[in-house]
Symmetry: C2
Subunit: 490 residues, 2 copies
């Protein structure tokens, strides 16, 4: 409020007018997105040079800010919502989800405790229970079945809290004495770097990570190698704490055998955390559910609604089989957070499922997606992109200028240019092709390295990506390949 | 996309129509908020019983969802944006900030790397540099001065990453070997529980926390006691890692002496992290800057824009004096995240300043606040609430039915009912008064315990709280006190 007692904020009628203007900006931006370059083409410092260093002393009209957005922010943005964004994994910020995010902001609730917003907590519980069913997860992952789900900010944070719950389970003294240095965490060379980060954050250090060998000829974790590693560590007096099978690795979409891994891990009490950040949502379609075979045996399962399930970041879905596992590891209750509902034991306080205390009503954006698209629409979204990937893979297979660097996995296609001049030349040609495509602004791709070789990743899955966009990409890949092959084959 | 290749999402024109409807819903909700009960008055399970357990198979119109929001979500929400919300600390979700959050969603950028959205990164850098100046922080906290700021999701996460940077600095082997069990972290009994949580998450365990005694007769950390504790620990072969002075504790708004603490800590290489989550933003007004005296000597400083600075959660501002401190502790770079800009060293990759990999364009909501309100408006917002708290404290002092349980701190007033029948009766009467006020729905308060005694906290600071709302609260407090005093004094 100011000296007259008036609020510093917009009054609701001003917000109505400006809010409509912002909605119009968003509608226009999305409608015109396809005409923009996908990748920002600016040098470091370009934005900073164009903004005043000092903050404004006095209020200014929104129009002035929207002009800066048009002139500075948009050109300096890599457009993740562009239909020819094929880089990393998709980050679906659907317009459906934006409606929910707006409502969440309008309500302005803090969902740290049940009592600070019963609706934020219970809507999340209902949606996560419903999604567990829709994904074909075991009922043990629902609140009704003794487990439960929560929305984390990211799969990285989900992996971290799963690791903390695993440490608490493995070592009863962990909350008091911390880690001992004997803990071990099992991954593969393809596991997401967030697992290494979680181990570092949790005080285990890199030495706690044990990289399990793959099944020969694949990139999937070998259950036999895992069994040997665990046995060796147990014999050495170490404490196997957690194994992380991945369903859909970031590099190539490889799938670790969840069932066989869980069967090795369980007799030793090792926590099994499935990282299905990208691929897990595909299980909405029954024909892809085999990827999660054995998930009923694991302790925690994570998939991101904010990658390929139309929900704007952040909305990583984490289910655990024991509803008390995360609170047991993470809860600390000072006086100012005590309340009757929490002490009754009849409610979930989601602050105890995460590192931060505060939390937004994130379930709202998930809700508007589920309500506005329906499970049938989500399945169509997934199936459509998988079909596009299959079509692209067919073209790659049939074209001597390319090879598949891995079998296509759902909507991810990994390919290389074939020059005929050997793998080193293919590496260079592939790198050059990717750089040329990205510099064109027509599409945006990223790369990985598989078996020491440079690989172009085509991750199909942006909200508005349709057949024409993959066709356009393929035409560009072919044209650029022709150019670079001439150079490298020479 | 569906089988016809059409997107699963709204088309932009549908979004324009529905987005306007959602903006209207928000405007109406905020305009009508004052007439709603502040606290949700529902039993556990009330929301779950009213929502279908199964997710919808087919899409449904937004209107149907908005009806459920009106009928189920709003009654089951504790209204943090209500002008008579005086509980916890405020969680300002101003309408200005909602505009920015909408734009962030519209752009749908992932700001994990500079290259994945140069604008998201550089706008954040510019705003954090500008805010450092506006708060009167030392230039060493700006990127221009070798340090830098970032937006974290919460002060809890800020404390965690500060601790990780401190561990890395204190123990060069930390990233490889993890923690050793000899680390010590210095807090007081009033320090926020997020520090204990950070120590637990980081693998240190509760034993690593050393609770430093207060200056006699106060709740502020004693620098002498800190010096003695550090000396004792060093002599015992332990490793003092971090001390956390608080500027504005959660319980009573107490302020630890930052300068004297930093002077004790620095010679031992102990990282000083200032937790000014609630109170720090007051330094926008020069007359409150004395609270931060000595902050130029510390390693990291955190204050929340999402509490009392009009910016919707999540927007916790963390500055560090060494721009490389967090990346050095947290960076891990797999092949699929490698890119030319990062390798040039000319850019900031904010993923290395936090635990999660992904991040929203959170600076957008901070930007619309700063642009739409200006620093002058923010100062007026802070000053107005501090003045209201001073007025309330005067009334408490002058009324024999009450006493101040602590000196007022900025906009936080801590009070107790005085029954005349001794402190136990005062405890009971105060508890009953708080419960009666909260049950009325007219206002919402929370409590703490000071020196073993029950204390009612009145935290003034909601976006629309003005003099009339504090007047209404005071009238209610007086009326309820009269009632409970009769019972307890009897």
């Amino acid at each position: 409020m100011d000296a007259t007692g008036a609020s510093a904020d917009l009054d609701p009628e001003e917000f109505r007018r400006l809010g409509h203007a912002v909605v119009d900006w968003i509608a226009d931006h999305r409608a015109g997105l396809e005409a923009l370059p996908v990748r920002a083409d600016v040098e470091p410092g370009w934005v900073r040079e164009r903004l005043p260093a000092a903050l404004p002393e006095d209020p200014a009209p929104l129009d002035a800010l929207l002009s800066v957005v048009d002139d500075v922010v948009v050109p300096a943005s890599t457009h993740w919502q562009h239909p020819r964004f094929f880089a990393y994994f998709p980050a679906n910020a659907s317009l459906h989800s934006l409606l929910g995010d707006m409502l969440s902001g309008g309500l302005g609730a803090q969902g740290m405790l049940w009592s600070t917003s019963p609706a934020a907590t219970e809507v999340e519980q209902v949606l996560l229970d419903g999604l567990a069913t829709a994904l074909g997860l075991d009922p043990g992952f629902t609140f009704a079945g003794g487990g439960g789900g929560s929305i984390q900010d990211s799969a990285s944070s989900a992996a971290l809290v799963a690791l903390l719950a695993a440490l608490h389970r493995a070592e009863p003294g962990w909350r008091e004495r911390g880690v001992t240095g004997t803990e071990r965490v099992y991954v593969t060379a393809e596991t997401h770097s967030s697992l290494a980060k979680a181990a570092r954050v949790a005080g285990l250090g890199a030495r706690a990570l044990r990289t399990v060998e793959p099944v020969p000829g694949s990139r999937a974790m070998s259950p036999q190698a895992l069994a040997a590693a665990v046995a060796e560590d147990v014999a050495a007096g170490l404490v196997p704490v957690l194994v992380c099978p991945t369903v859909g690795t970031t590099g190539t979409g490889a799938v670790d055998p969840v069932r066989a891994i869980a069967e090795v891990a369980r007799p030793h009490g090792v926590w099994v955390h499935v990282d299905a950040a990208w691929a897990g949502v595909a299980a909405l379609a029954p024909e892809f559910r085999h990827l999660l075979d054995g998930v009923e045996l694991v302790d925690s399962f994570c998939t991101d609604a904010h990658k390929w399930m139309l929900t704007a970041f952040d909305a990583s879905l984490l289910w655990v089989r024991e509803a008390d596992a995360l609170p047991a590891a993470l809860s600390i209750t000072p006086e100012y957070l005590r309340n009757a509902a929490s002490e009754s034991g009849a409610v979930v306080d989601y602050r105890d499922w995460q590192v931060p205390l505060g939390r937004r009503f994130r379930a709202f954006k998930l809700w508007t997606v589920l309500h506005g698209v329906g499970l049938s629409g989500l399945r169509a979204h997934i199936r459509g992109h998988v079909a596009l990937a299959a079509g692209l893979a067919e073209r790659v297979r049939a074209d001597p200028a390319f090879e598949l660097a891995a079998e296509p996995s759902l909507a991810l296609v990994c390919l290389r240019v074939v020059t005929g001049a050997g793998p080193d030349a293919d590496d260079d040609a592939s790198r050059e092709l990717l750089e040329r495509v990205n510099a064109s602004g027509e599409a945006f791709l990223t790369h990985t390295v598989v078996g020491g070789r440079y690989v172009i990743r085509v991750a199909i899955g942006a909200v508005t990506t349709g057949p024409e966009h993959v066709d356009q990409l393929w035409e560009q890949l072919r044209a650029e390949a022709e150019r670079v092959r001439q150079r490298y084959a020479a």
